[in-house]
Each structure stands twice: as structure tokens, then as C-alpha cells.
Symmetry: C2
Subunit: 234 residues, 2 copies
């Protein structure tokens, strides 16, 4: 277990491989976009320094953070001199700079199918359940907690049902979302399932997602990326 | 000008290059995700058959379309035997199967920066302004037209301001979003500007986006992809 409660300070997390100094992840334990990058880094065995950015305390709007991330979002990956936002762009960057083990298939059709699954989560579900969107619904539109949770569950359940159908339409019989090893699709799916569980989403119509979730969460790379074991998880 | 009003039938649009039969784009003229793929196909000179799917008439929920697209979204690209959803996955697929002219830079950092800009549009702006989201706001949450347009403008203006800042942070002095030729970032930006214009968004704080918009819309590949010149534009 890592050191807890170091909300403002940075915390170095060491993994099995070493020799890649200079990789920092600006992350919030509960951000599912940060969670995706934590999984990708772990799968590829890239050691990184974990820098917590507390979204509920609005640390993402601090001037020095806005220099790294003009739109005040997490995650940001710093790799030496370069700082990159947007979790999927970061994952593709990691795939291009640390190709092994691969998180995308080798053939263009397989790559497109994995990316399409990842984008169902990243474009059709997650943006609607972002903290800032929920804040707008409550503050500007005046909706209550019940309506907010209904909204959240609606997009999670509809989106993940579409994910399940699309995954089966692409190819039904593998151990993970695509093939026998975790890909970018699993990297996006698992954090979204965590989010769905937080609002008691109904997963009963998603047997394949449920199975893949259990299989992924048995892996060290996913376990170590979970919100509850991050240094800023209070 | 292409044939108009062929809402149900498919319409073959011929471009300058030929010899790639079997590419079909399932599209709705006003869908900005479809618009992205139309630009990418045009930039790469890929001829395609345009198949209109009328979202307001709910044609995306027809059983035969749901076989192509389990989540009932446009666009879908059919390339020979394979059908692919999700506009960014389609663009990456086109880049891998028709590499010239490139819509991503050659180096991993440049590629990550272009993808990050594209994802600001695809993950932070567009999902909040989707037809189905606007329908939920009006039908389930009972908001009126004024509140709906405020919502729409809020996410467009905040998102594009973040885009402008991020683009400048990456690199300030090129003709397009990144470098001197259009990339995936321009492919995502331009349709989003069209959407913003529809709700009278304020672009006065976005001089660089405004300049790039004009430069792109002077190009044939962008002009031919515009909503108003699609066969299903009534």
C-alpha cells in the first residue's frame, strides 16, 4: 500500500521496472480518465511519479497547474520536457514510445475496433458524468441529487449496453474486450464500470462486461491503478 | 452541387480520384462527427458512397441500421466487408490504410498533441451537444429552449477557449492547428465551429481558431464536406 493523504505533495510510486526517470502523472484518484492512464503505465511497466490534483478542492484551477493544462483537466502526463493532456492521446503516445506490451492490435481493422470501443466510453459516456457537467446540472439547471443520479445512471447504462453490443458485434469470443490480452478498450472500460458501480448501475444485461471486469481486476496492473489505492484517496 | 433530398436512397458522390469501390459513409448532414469523416475522406481523396441516416426522423434506430451500428449513432464507415463506428477511430483507420496525405504528424509528440486537440473537441465539447443529450435535457429534465441554448453555448465556448489556449501552448505559429497542413485537429475543430455558429457562440476571444476556420474553409476538402452541400441537406 502506498502512502496516503499526501494531497498536495507529490509521491513517487515505484514499480518493478526502472530506468525511466522523469515520468510524472498529474492525477486525481477518482478521475476515470486518470485511472485509464494509470492502467496503461502499469501494463507497460513504466515507473512514474504520482502528483495528486484534487478536483473537488479545485486544485485544477491553480495558476501553475493551468500552465500544464490550459483547460484545467486531469490527467496530464509529463515525460521529460513534454506535458500531454487527454488520456487517450497519452495512451497512444505511450503505445508509440513504449510499444511493449502492445495495447493496440497490429492490424488496422483490429486497431479501429479497439479504438471504437475505447471511444464509446470516452465520447459517449464519460463526458456526461464529468464533475463539471454534474456541477452545471445542479448549479445552473437546479436539478436535485435524485435527478443527477438518474442522469448519471442513464448514460452509464445506455453507453455500456452499446459497448457490450458493439464488442459482441466485432467479435464474441475472447478473454478481454478484444483478443487475449488487455487493450485500450479494457483500459477505458474498467474505470467506467467503477463509476457505474458508484451510482448502483444495473449490470445484469452486460454479462460479457461483467466477466471482463473480473478478469481485468485480477491483474496487478489494474489493481494498482484502482482509485482506493492511490496516494490521494482519503 | 449534389442531388438533394434523397433522404432514404443512397447517393454516390464522385471525387477526383477513383478506384476505391466499396467505401460507404453512413452520415447525417448536420452531424459534426459525420462531417469530420467527410473531411478526412476528402483530404485523402477517397471516393465514397453517401448513405443518409436522418437522425431527427430516428432512422438511426431502424433495425437494419442497428446491425451496422449497435448504438444507433452516425457515422459508420463501410470499407469492403468491414463496418466501423466512431469518427476518430475511422479517421485513424483511414490514416493507417491510406497514409497519404497524412493527417497526423510523424513524431510521437506531434501526434499526441494533434490527438489531444482532436479529443478536446470529441470528449469535452461535442458529447454535451449531441441530439440525444439535448433531448434528455428537454424531455426528462424539462428545460426550455433558452436554457438548452445556454447549455450548448456554455460547452462550445468553454471548450473552444480551452482548445485555443492548448493549441497556443503546444505551438503558436503555424497555418493550421498544427503545422502547415490540415490534421485530425482541424478535422475536429471545423465542424465544432459550425455547431457553435448555429447557436451564435462568441468567437471574439478565439482569433487563432477564427483564422484557421477561414483557412480551412477555403479548401475544397472542407467545402465539399459542409452540411449545406450534403445530399440529405433539405
Amino acid at each position: 500500500m502506498e502512502t496516503k493523504g499526501a494531497a498536495a505533495a507529490s509521491v513517487t510510486i515505484r514499480f518493478d521496472k526502472s530506468g525511466e526517470p522523469g515520468v510524472k502523472l498529474y492525477s486525481y484518484f477518482r478521475s476515470s480518465a486518470s485511472f485509464r492512464v494509470r492502467i496503461a503505465l502499469n501494463l507497460k511497466g513504466v515507473p512514474f511519479e504520482y502528483v495528486p490534483v484534487h478536483l473537488v478542492k479545485n486544485e485544477q484551477f491553480a495558476a501553475d497547474y493551468r500552465e500544464l493544462s490550459p483547460d484545467g483537466l486531469v490527467p496530464v502526463l509529463s515525460d521529460g520536457d513534454v506535458s500531454l493532456p487527454q488520456s487517450l492521446a497519452i495512451c497512444e503516445y505511450l503505445e508509440e514510445t513504449r510499444p511493449e506490451p502492445a495495447i493496440l492490435p497490429a492490424d488496422p481493422i483490429g486497431r479501429a475496433q479497439v479504438r471504437a470501443l475505447a471511444l464509446i466510453v470516452a465520447c459517449e459516456i464519460h463526458p456526461l458524468n464529468n464533475l463539471r457537467v454534474l456541477r452545471y446540472l445542479m448549479r445552473q439547471l437546479g436539478i436535485d441529487e435524485v435527478a443527477k443520479d438518474d442522469w448519471y445512471r442513464h448514460w452509464v447504462e445506455n453507453g455500456l449496453l452499446a459497448f457490450e453490443r458493439q464488442m459482441i458485434a466485432f467479435d464474441g469470443g475472447h478473454r478481454f474486450c478484444y483478443g487475449d490480452t488487455p487493450t485500450l478498450a479494457d483500459i477505458c472500460l474498467i474505470p467506467q464500470v467503477f463509476n457505474g458501480q458508484r451510482v448502483n448501475s444495473d449490470f445484469s444485461q452486460m454479462p460479457r462486461i461483467t466477466e471482463i471486469f473480473e478478469r481485468c481486476m485480477a491483474l496487478e496492473a489494474f489493481k494498482r491503478a484502482a482509485p482506493s489505492v492511490q496516494p490521494d484517496s482519503a
